[in-house]
Symmetry: C2
Subunit: 346 residues, 2 copies
DNA sequence: ATGAAAGCGCTAACAG
DNA sequence: CTGTTAGCGCTTTCAT
């Protein structure tokens, strides 16, 4: 009698008077494909249930050289946008019997390499990158590809490589935001972008320009401000807005995300403007808090939870070798959520 | 020559012309305690470095029956408070060569059991609970204890059990907040508490009463409102504040956390009050966004990152059997951060 | 100081 | 339909 060790196939085999092999076969044979007598099957299953058998994942992985956990590298855990994505990833993977190992870069961008090292050391079966930026180390992606470790991106694609990814339609999102402002009568519409390294910046810029063009509003570079810092906190929106305020400010504003919007609003209010009378602002993401900002924020919603779920399922498919090329690139629809931060026009 | 498999001790042994045993000894012998000739040691180490050897954690765990990963069960991943704690956990554990498996309850409170199941199936070496509530299943804790799987709590203790935990001094935090308001001249000070299941509620209530008493302000139950819902979003603060507003509102308000504060402010503003002139409000936590609320929020800071780090280190110590009783209960100091949401008095 | 051998729990050929 | 055998990569006696 083992001390208080966990229950093994051995135990089941003994109690059911069958071999370990048979026990293993029964347990692993979900679809009843292997020919085992119903009697034996039932017996083994009953014993397994009775003793509360849980396969030892270390032994399984050692033997099969397959792991049921995968790595998740996320830009900033503290950002609610990523929090929601992680929730989605988690829900989907647990449902399929996989376990995400989450690691975040926080302010240490450029540490993608270190994170990947950790996941590789843990024999992650695949890696999910959310909002990461490969400033220096694109090489690690080739390395991963060589070693047959699947990767999927969320909200960020490395253009040169054909890697599965899921994202929201950024140009459409920015288009929606800008269009809303134009229809409200605004002509001097500011745009606060994230840093260049984030591909979404360029796409949102594009959507913004497209809306201007479509509605015959003159594009002017002086209405666009860009953050250079990668951290995505309200401070970014604050300082960008301050720069607008020091020259001649726009009457409306598209911001890179809800946190930027919060910061931008703060800056405007500090300079004596009121929202939305003096400045209409629209955010991006629709994080939970946005509905409670003062004023409640009109914003472009991204389906974060769903993005996380889809990405996790894609990665797991890739791990299991069933991911089809045509399902490898999914772009979700953004949705304009109208609240109070744009009022009824300038 | 193996196909493109990972490098094993075997490979090192061959290349260094030593036995696998020797290779293993050298690799595991950080402190040079085992008698191995310096020459052999150097040789093995050199080869290991050259081929980029990474031990296979599955084999290690299978053999030693010890795992280097532990579970983290967190109440709500989307909440920035927990995001910060997770960051701390992660930083500390990676530094010690451990890997946190994070799972969250989100809105499914009462699913602690399912989460724990998952972690046990993965052979987690220990479990960290952050902000979780054991409404139904306190039994799983006994189970864990029986099976010798260490547990530590963050921000929440199950009173009956002597389980290591780290938290902020909640009564002091609430005291600080209330005292600040009293010193500003307020007498009708509202308190919005979280649900009963969260032990911090009772503690903060205590701190609030203590401050009132110390400064000779009459305590009145009608100034306290409590949320019943476990989800900690701005909506909770919003509805609680609305209840105050329908009777006679206080002139100042202590809220359960910054998100509650955001919601409460929104409710007050909707009813035509201005902050801080008509209502002074103080939050709790000091999440990153709090500095950018309108007005910037005066709040009680919790050292979330540090709490995460400390807890992770405690758990790892417990896993390794070196956690001392006297270091098992740590209460950190809260700190009042004064910004604009309380103005200069009523 | 070094190595041979055994075995952790599981799965996969291969027999029977 | 079932069992025997072997081995994944590692650590751990126990010899030498």
């Amino acid at each position: 009698m083992r001390k208080s060790m966990s229950i093994t196939l051995q135990d089941i085999a003994e109690q059911a008077h069958v071999s370990v092999t048979t026990a293993s076969k029964v347990i692993n044979d979900k679809a009843s494909e292997i020919r085992i007598s119903p009697k034996t099957r039932d017996l083994v299953l009953t014993v397994a249930k009775r003793v509360g058998y849980k396969p030892n994942p270390f032994a399984q992985s050692l033997r099969t050289k397959k792991s049921r956990s995968f790595g998740v590298v996320v830009a900033e855990m503290r950002n609610p946008y990523f929090g929601a994505i992680i929730s989605g990833i988690e829900q989907a993977s647990i449902a399929r019997g996989y376990y995400p190992l989450i690691s975040s870069l926080e302010n240490n961008f450029g540490e993608e390499k270190a994170c990947v090292e950790v996941h590789r050391a843990n024999r992650a079966a695949g890696i999910l990158f959310a909002g990461t930026v490969f400033r220096l180390e694109e090489g690690i992606l080739h390395q991963l590809a060589e070693d047959n470790i699947p990767v999927v991106f969320i909200g960020n694609k490395v253009e040169a490589l054909r890697i599965p990814y899921v994202d929201v339609d950024n140009v459409k999102g920015a288009f929606l935001a800008t269009e809303h402002l134009i229809k409200l009568g605004h002509r001097r519409i500011g745009l606060i972008l994230g840093p260049d390294e984030i591909p979404a910046s360029a796409k949102r810029w594009k959507g913004y320009k497209r809306a201007l063009e479509e509605y015959g509003v003159q594009y002017d570079k002086r209405w666009v401000e860009q953050e250079t810092q990668l951290r995505s906190d309200p401070g970014s929106g604050y300082s960008a807005m301050m720069r607008f305020l020091e020259r001649d400010p726009p009457t409306a504003l598209c911001t890179f995300n809800d946190q930027y919007a919060l910061g931008a609003i703060r800056a405007a209010v500090e300079k004596g403007l009121t929202i939305p009378q003096d400045l209409a602002v629209v955010g991006f993401d629709n994080i939970a808090a946005a509905a409670y900002y003062s004023p409640p924020l009109t914003t472009v919603e991204q389906p974060m939870l769903e993005m996380g779920k889809i990405a996790a399922n894609m990665l797991i498919d890739a791990i299991e070798g069933t991911l089809k090329e045509e399902r490898s690139f999914v772009i979700l629809e953004p949705k304009l959520i109208i609240r109070k931060s744009c009022g009824a026009g300038p």
